[in-house]
Structure formats: C-alpha cells, structure tokens
Amino acid sequence: MHTKVRVQSTINGEPQEFLCEPRQSLLECLRDILGLTGSKEGCNDGNCGACTVILDGRVVTSCLVLGVEAEGSEITTVEGMAKGNKLHPLQQSFLENAALQCGICTPGFLVAAKALLDQQPNPSEDEIRLWLANNLCRCTGYDKIIRAVKQAAEQMQEVNA
C-alpha cells in the first residue's frame, strides 16, 4: 500500500505542512514540493555539502535525511538567512570576498558557516576549515571562503559588542 505521508515542520521560522513519499529526501521535499530551491543537489550522497540545512540545531546534508523524518522538526535553509532585503553578514562577506564563482556550493557553505558561528562566534582558521570539511567547492578554492567566514565572524562580533 503506497501512501504519501503528511509532514509538519517549522521551516525558516514558519510552520509548514507538506505531503511526501517516504522515499523522498528532505532535499527533494524542500526543492520539489516546497519550492525552496536554494539548497542544491550536488553529489546526492552526503559528500559535497551543497544541500546542507540546519535540522533541529545540527547541520546535516538534506540528501541523507528522509522528508518524513522532518516531522515535528525545525529546519533552517539558506532562504532563512537574509532578513527581507538585508543579507546575513555571511552572505555579505561572501560577496565582498568573492568567495564564490559558479555558486552551486555557496548555499551549503553559508548554512554550515552560520551553524558554526551560532555556536562558536570567534572560530580559528583551523576550526573553520575542519567544520567546513564536509563542504566541497570545485572552482573558487577554499581560501576566500575561509576569509569570508572569518570576516563575517569579526563583523558580527563588532555589532554585538
């Protein structure tokens, strides 16, 4: 008996309800059902991090989560980072530091970096590199990305000081 499942969760602060097949990944649910196409499909097996979202406070690759598992959970995607037209400091910093070229990996890097700064406002370069090891970039390379995260962290601390 093949029945779809109703899932209720909070996505970017808004209650959401969707109907999905148990075999659909959270990434598919976000992109194909909810139209949240900021999260990208790269490898679809957990290696590249392009589909990274925050699920109940933990960064996860949404390609390796079933949509049905999201029942009752809180999810933050890249769409939840900017406040209206005001970019998140990380987004602004990625632009200023040219920390992207093709941009496919960027949403995953932004969400993963946000989760890092949420729990560790002043990470060292080593901590940033280790935290972001599950995110792959195939064009810019990592130096600009690391610099952008570091700069965003410094700016956010100044604002909060």
């Binding site: 960064v59 996860v60 079933l66 598992e69």
Partner: protein, 289 residues
Amino acid sequence: MKWFDYAAPVSVGEAVGLLTAHPSARLLAGGTDLLVQLRAGRKETDLVVDAKRIPELNVLHYDPAHGLTLGSAVPCYRIYKDKNVARAYPSLAEVASLIGGTQIQGRASIGGNLCNAAPSADSAPLLIALGATCRVAGPRGSRDVPVEEFCTAPGRTVLQPGELLVSIHLPPPAPHSGSRYLRFIPRNEMDIAVAGVGVEVILENGRFRSARVALAAVAPTPLYVREAGDSLAGSPVDEASIATAAEIARKNARPITDMRGTADYRGHLCGVLTRRALEAAVARARGGN
C-alpha cells in the same frame, strides 16, 4: 530510490515486530550509509524503520560502576559533546569526531557504523580494544555479542531476521588504562581508512597488565588481534615490547590491494600505527593526554 514505506516505532518490541513481519525491512538511524545504498540500488527494502524514536536506542548514559551505555542510534556529535564520554573515554570522543564531517556527525551513529559492517569502520577497532559488547534484541529476547564477533563479512553482521542492535556497552575504564584509535587517510578528514588501529592498555607497576589491539581495513571484518595484546601482558613498558606487539599486528593483517593502497602498504601501516597507538595509549594511562 524505489518505493518503501516508513515506520517510526516507539519501543524495541514494536520495532522487532516490524522487522520480523517485513524480512527486507531496514533500520534507519542516521541514514548516512543506508540512504546512499538504497539510492544506489545496493540494498532494497519495502520498509524503513526509523530508530530515532525508540528510547533504548537513543540512550547515552555513563555510570562509573557499570560503564557506558551507548544507544545504537545516538549520533556522533552527542558522543563527542558528552562530558562523561570526554572524561572517561576520550578515545571514543575522538573516533566520533573523525567519522565523516560535521554534517555526517550530525546524523551518523556508532551503532550504524557497526551494522554497516564495513571492514574500514572507524569505530570498530576501538570498541573491540575497549572490550565493548553489543546488546541485540530480537523475537526470542535479547543477547550480548562482543564487538569483535559482531561483523561476519563485508556488509554482514550476526543480526538474524527480526533482530536489531539496541546499544553498545563499554566497561568502566580500569585504573591506569589508556586507549587510542589511529588511522591513516590521505587527507585530514572525510576519508575512509587505508588502515586503522585501536588499542587499549592497562598498566601495573611499570609493566603492561593487559592490552588489546584491533585493526581496520585490513581484513573482511574489523580484526581483533588477540596475540598482539597478549604479547604485552606482563612485559615491561618499553620500546622492545611495543615493537613486538606492532610486528604481530602487521603479520596478522590480511589486507587486499585496492585503490586506497596495496596489501604491503597496509600491512606496513598496521605495524607503524600499532606502535604509535600503543605509545599514545601508554601516555594516557600514565595520566597524560
């Protein structure tokens, strides 16, 4: 992925019932192996049984008298963030923090690492070295299996139809004991071990009272090398004893040659890593880090 149904039982009994009624059912903890395998068609199932709402599979409890109870679905980040684990089993916290990357550690569990039964499973050698046992529940009740007997072949375990891994139990750390897992990978993180070595030593009056050594990625299953640890028992804590144990580990490795390394290279790594892991475990046993 082919169609499957999804169930999220809230008790071990309910889960055993589902697994018994659906022979192809698969238990889902973090999904970092299972969902990849289902998507690639390497496994098929008509029912995915989510382990994460079953209390016994999500326990992380330390008791100085009885040791650690680690629910099979507890994700790695909970393990390395746990203060008791960091204090009593620092090597377990290290292993949990080197499996995959941040995103994988948010989901992947040590129980899943064992059930996936990869020869390269990073957690297996250390659990074997620490003398851990697996608590298995099934239609005929529960049973305990030493970790070194849990994996039977690549991708295969002792679990029978209807059975599931509930938790892993670690004895309390003995006085003057230390443990360590070391692996060799070409990059610093997010890779699969070319070879890995887990050890535990217990010291007494300047000698080894006992030791255990286990290897990863050099046999069809995680490999407990009893002779290597036994060679240390009663020996002085010195370079010669450790070199002898490392040589026994190297000789017992039965690696294959594949894209990650040749058989010779892997055997060599077992010797080097065993020596280094024993030295590190001795330093820990003596109170260092």
